[in-house]
């Protein structure tokens, strides 16, 4: 009876679908579910101990100094998200709008703005770490050469500039992405629509707010969602540029660094703690999933309306 159901066609579909499905189940779904389970146990190194209910969550959320570290790191993620929203996505929109005019040389500008996007985050991190060096870095050298010597800073060493410097490196790295996504969106706006608006007004501002923005909005939601996920997963760039501790004194600490440090230990901290690490991972995960999920659903709804 069972064999009867597995007709040739069904078997064929199953053969196509099963291998990829198994991969995703085994290496994405299963680990994520396990991470949830792990957070409820006490861990001694890699050995799982007793079931401790919500103790790990309680620890990272309410017990000092872990609680304030969590809040500190979280607040930096929020800052990074908004800063990148303005300086990466916002600038990206402006650049896209400018590129859209297709002035001479725009093809070259388009290739240039996207070039850093293909570089590895590690390379970008090291590059800017060397560039921001207080004594020998080209950034300070450049400022001096331009007669702006008074602006030189130990960029990555002060809490006032360190996080901004990493945000800058991130924006330099990724600004090409929103730029070209928005540009592609603008290029799809039908000519008739633009003609129509031009009959009514010459104002660029009206053109942007009434026509361009609403029509690229679906792309924008995707770009924002990706930025959101990226900002709350931020790890490589601060890891390379300021180290696992979020130096100086935690002013660049973000959830990714804090999670890694807690789970795997670091040079000057206490031993690794898989329990607290898993609890942090679950919290970050839930936060990202809920916000990104809401954004995606709203986007879908709007697409249907359009």
């Amino acid at each position: 009876m069972f064999t009867k159901q597995l007709t040739g066609r069904r078997l064929w579909i199953a053969a196509l679908i099963m291998p990829p499905l198994v991969f995703v189940c085994l290496f994405i779904v299963y680990p994520i579910i396990s991470a949830f389970a792990y957070a409820f146990f006490e861990w001694s190194g890699l050995a799982r101990g007793d079931f401790v209910w919500f103790e790990n969550f309680h620890k990272v959320l309410f017990v000092e100094p872990f609680a304030s570290r969590t809040v500190n790191a979280f607040s930096h993620n929020v800052f990074v998200f908004f800063a990148l929203m303005v300086f990466q996505n916002g600038l990206g929109f402006v650049l896209a709008y400018f590129l859209w005019r297709e002035l001479p040389g725009f093809r070259f500008h388009r290739i240039a703005v996207f070039l850093p996007v293909v570089l590895s985050t590690i390379v970008v991190g090291f590059l800017w770490r060397l560039f921001f060096h207080p004594l020998f870095g080209p950034v300070n050298a450049g400022l001096k050469a331009l007669g702006l010597g008074f602006l030189t800073q130990p960029w990555l060493g002060q809490d006032t500039t360190a996080l901004w410097s990493i945000v800058f490196a991130n924006a330099w790295h990724m600004v090409g992405f929103p730029t070209l996504v928005f540009l592609a969106g603008m290029q799809r706006i039908p000519g008739e629509v633009l003609d129509a608006v031009r009959m009514e007004t010459q104002s660029e501002w009206v053109k942007i707010t009434k026509i361009v923005w609403p029509l690229v909005a679906p792309s924008a939601t995707v770009v924002f969602t990706l930025l959101f996920v990226g900002a709350f997963n931020w790890f490589e760039l601060p890891y390379i540029m300021v180290g696992l501790e979020g130096s100086p004194h935690g002013s660049t600490d973000v959830l990714g660094l804090y999670f890694y440090r807690t789970a795997f230990g670091n040079q000057s901290g206490a031993p690794p703690d898989f329990g607290a690490g898993s609890a942090l991972a679950v919290l970050i995960f839930l936060f990202i999933a809920i916000v990104a999920g809401t954004l995606t659903i709203r986007m879908r709804r709007r697409e249907i309306e359009l």
Binding site: V94, V123, F126
Partner: protein, 291 residues
Amino acid sequence: MTASARSVSSVPTVSSNRSTVWTLDALVQVVLIANTLVMLVPIVIMVFSAFKTNVQIFQSPFSIPDFTNLTNLTKIWTQTNFLRYLGNSFFVTGVSMLLILTLGTMAAYAIARYRFTGSGFILMFFVAGLTLPLKLAIIPLFILMRDLGILNSHAALIVVYVATGLPTTVFIMTGFIRTLPSELEDAARMDGASEALIMWKIMLPLVRPAMVIAGIQNVVPIWNDFFFPLVFIQSDGLKTLPQGLASFMGEYNTDWGVLFSGLTLSVLPIIIIYILLSKQFINGMTSGAVK
């Protein structure tokens, strides 16, 4: 976009506004040139510094170097494991891409071309994987790799890359395969061709453009990944380029010329390919977000 949109958007229709438009264009051009400089100058300085000694870098960071001075590059070639890292990266990326495209196309084909119960659910299941940050499941993954006995091996990286690459690939490929006309397929089916033959002979040749897009979308993050090797790979001989670069940067930390050479060498392959295939790169990498 259409040609008419172009001419309309850039040609001023009202003559009195010509000077305003001209000023605006000038402003736009200035901003774009400034931005391009900000994008390219750091890369140029990096390449220049690769040919300099420490003293030259510190004293004249912006000068044009003597490009025949290959001391730093030779040092990397002869004294480090750079070639090994490069080879590892090629191997891991290559195998991962092969598996991603094969498995991704299989799943997408099944979802797009056949009606069966649960196909919608399966697509949603794959798509849900798009935004899941797998980094956060690194602890269970680590333990899973240990149990599978593939910790500290390329297999650990490949399976993770394939798993993370599949959602985007299935998403892109399904969308594309759905748009393919069914006439050819139906005709072949009438002739009694098997499903496998139809897929292989008739449909697959048509999906190549989507494969390029899905391929580019995955190849860059895999080639550049640092996090998973950081956790899974411990032996120096197995390190991929970004991870090897990190330990190399630690080892030669005082020799800036060598550091910049290392950075330059590691970005060179991808920059060259990018310049040659910029259109495909841009389309591929932004395809998930363009609506």
